[in-house]
């Protein structure tokens, strides 16, 4: 309890010190999200890579650098179990839709995409791209929703997941690791790929897929691409985060650039009074409309939600939310619970979860009142991570 109070005070003071006189008026309008819960996922040096929700939010999958995927409850933080089997880095995880609600998929540098039953934590299916391949990303979709596509080393592979047969291999479009593949929502046959070679390719996946005829357009971002995401009312926009921490926004249909933030870290840093933004974790888009936020972080573990203005003059605005005092190292994943359908009383007020290289999962409370900043949830309890022996987390109810 004392520690929690200390932490709160600490951050409060920090804000006071850094509060600028009048240079940045919007600075005082950001919300500081309070830490509700903090879970140590392992007692070694493993990182949390990614957090993904089950479609009904009754569970969340967490991939760790130990090649395992752990499962927790997003509402209580309770540990549920672990899926072990991958022999190399787990690069992507996602739950299936309502049709197979208990299934979690994962792809790995061991060259496989595996399916796990999250009730028994056992592997139920495995598709392999071969022992010398690595799979960095995967996506389900296609015209009859029967395709599974995978981003591999230079190649994009396609299987019919119903019979696990490989139906196509695109190997001419990229010359380096394909870090992202996404079937586009509402544009069934379209697949977008992004690679370390700096290219974003848009493919038509109807019929017999081949490089010569199915590559529709190419966007040259110019540098190694880490993450891309499709957003916008009609899903025709694309945000792109590179490994050199630059951000760009594109209209993939037109193949045009809408905004380019080469010095994105500096723009974000200039818009708040805290430490230098060292990297970006992800981009989040509004459920409705064209809003876009980029989540920037410091090496010490503080996060900011920065609005991205890309129409009529590119700009990165002051953060609308700051998540501090939770992590002590680089943050790798942010999962907002705003996407939840039907918020119950349990989940109301929860902003979401974050995970990072400190091996921690942090749950954040959002200030429901749309009023001013810095109103602390004084009922916060920070679960102290104990390095000694205990298997399950001690859950402290609030």
């Amino acid at each position: 309890m004392e520690d929690a109070m200390d932490m709160e005070v600490e951050v409060e003071v920090e804000a006071e010190e850094h509060s600028p006189s009048s240079s940045n008026p919007s600075d005082s309008s950001f919300r500081r999200f309070g830490l509700k819960n903090s879970i140590q996922t392992n007692f070694g040096n493993d990182y949390v890579f990614e957090i993904t929700p089950k479609f009904d939010w009754s569970m969340m999958g967490v991939s760790l650098s130990s090649n395992a995927v752990k499962l927790y409850s997003p509402t209580t933080g309770q540990y549920c179990g672990e899926c072990r089997g991958h022999s190399d880095t787990v690069n992507g995880i996602s739950f299936s839709g309502p049709s197979s609600p208990h299934v979690l998929h994962s792809c790995s540098s061991d060259g496989t995409i595996r399916a796990w039953d999250t009730r028994s934590f056992k592997e139920v299916s495995c598709i392999s791209a071969g022992p010398s391949q690595e799979i960095f990303s995967f996506s389900f979709g296609g015209s009859s929703d029967s395709l599974l596509s995978a981003g591999c080393k230079s190649q994009i592979l396609f299987w019919d997941w119903r019979n696990k047969k490989q139906v196509a291999c695109l190997e001419d479009s990229h010359v380096d690791d394909v870090t992202q593949v996404h079937f586009v929502p509402h544009h069934q046959n379209k697949l977008i790929s992004a690679s370390v070679d700096g290219l974003i390719c848009i493919f038509d996946t109807a019929g017999d897929i081949n490089d010569d005829e199915h590559m529709e357009s190419v966007i040259n971002v110019g540098t190694s691409i880490g993450k891309v995401g499709i957003f916008g009312q009609t899903f025709e926009k694309l945000w792109c985060l590179t490994h050199i921490e630059t951000l760009s926004v594109w209209d993939w249909k037109e193949g045009t650039n809408e905004a380019n933030f080469e010095d994105a870290r500096k723009l974000a840093s200039d818009s708040w009074s805290l430490d230098h933004v060292d990297y970006f974790v992800d981009c989040h888009s509004a459920e409705e409309g064209e809003g876009l936020w980029v989540i920037g972080g410091t090496n010490a573990g503080t996060l900011g939600y920065f609005p991205v203005k890309y129409k009529g003059g590119a700009a990165i605005g002051s953060p609308e939310a700051v998540l501090g005092g939770g992590h002590s190292d680089v943050v790798r994943s942010v999962l907002p619970m705003s996407g939840m359908a039907g918020t119950t009383s349990k989940t109301r007020g929860i902003f979401g979860w974050t995970g990072g290289e400190d091996g921690r999962l942090c749950c954040w409370l959002s200030d429901d009142s749309s009023a001013t900043s810095r109103s602390w949830m004084s009922s916060n309890l920070v679960l102290k991570s104990s390095r000694s022996h205990h298997k399950k987390n001690r859950h402290q109810p609030y």
């Binding site: 479009s173 290219l199 190419v218 490994h243 193949g255 060292d278 990297y279």
Partner: protein, 216 residues
């Protein structure tokens, strides 16, 4: 030493230049920056990969070709830049061998907005496969500066081991230019590492045929 010492760098560069003068080679040697990392795990930590624009062009002999619309073709002619228009691209008839030949002829390509959209249809994935898909150039920017920008870009990529090299200059440049290239690129690369200088084990500069000089 927690930062790159200017003196050490200047001395190393002088050393490299004087070594080369002692034994002249029949080609212009490239100078490479060799980076050794520590406290970094390629499997866990974020990827260290990308392209950076250097203040001074390290490879002036880089051949660039403009795939242009009428306006860009005209500009290209004026600055003696190799070019091809849409008609010329159509003549390749999406023939894989011809596209491959074109790709081999140049180090990099630029393309106008109107043309870049047609490339998959006109040429297929040939330029992709060669790792030379064109960079877009608009009419709002000077073609010449875009060419220089392209020539000034260098790629860096850390694979499974903790060392990598980046082309940082050549022996026909001025020592001061090499100095600036090294300073800028090192500071940029270090900013991408979470422990900054604590992630850097050593830095060396080396000309193609010369001996390595430690600068950090």
């Amino acid at each position: 030493m927690s930062k790159l010492q200017s003196d050490a760098l200047r001395e190393a560069i002088s050393g490299i230049f004087s070594d080369c003068n002692e034994k002249k080679r029949k080609f212009t040697e490239t100078i490479e920056l060799q980076i050794g990392l520590k406290n970094y795990d390629p499997q866990k930590d974020k990827r260290f990969s990308g392209s950076v624009k250097l203040p001074h062009i390290p490879r002036p002999k880089m051949k660039v070709c403009m795939l242009g619309d009428a306006q860009h073709v005209e500009e290209a002619e004026k600055i003696s830049l190799a070019y091809m228009d849409v008609e010329a691209l159509k003549k390749l008839n999406k023939n894989k061998k011809l596209v491959k030949k074109l790709a081999k002829k140049y180090h990099a390509f630029l393309a106008s907005e109107a043309v870049i959209k047609q490339i998959p249809r006109l040429l297929g994935p040939g330029l992709n496969k060669a790792g030379k898909f064109p960079t877009l150039v608009t009419h709002q920017e000077s073609l010449e500066s875009k060419v220089n920008e392209t020539k000034a870009m260098v790629k860096f990529q850390l694979k499974k081991v903790l060392c990598m090299g980046v082309a940082i200059g050549n022996l026909s440049m001025e020592e001061k230019q090499v100095f600036q290239n090294v300073q800028l690129s090192v500071n940029f690369l270090v900013s991408l590492l979470k422990k900054n200088w604590q992630n850097v084990k050593c830095l060396h500069l080396k000309s193609t045929m010369g001996k390595p000089y430690r600068v950090f």
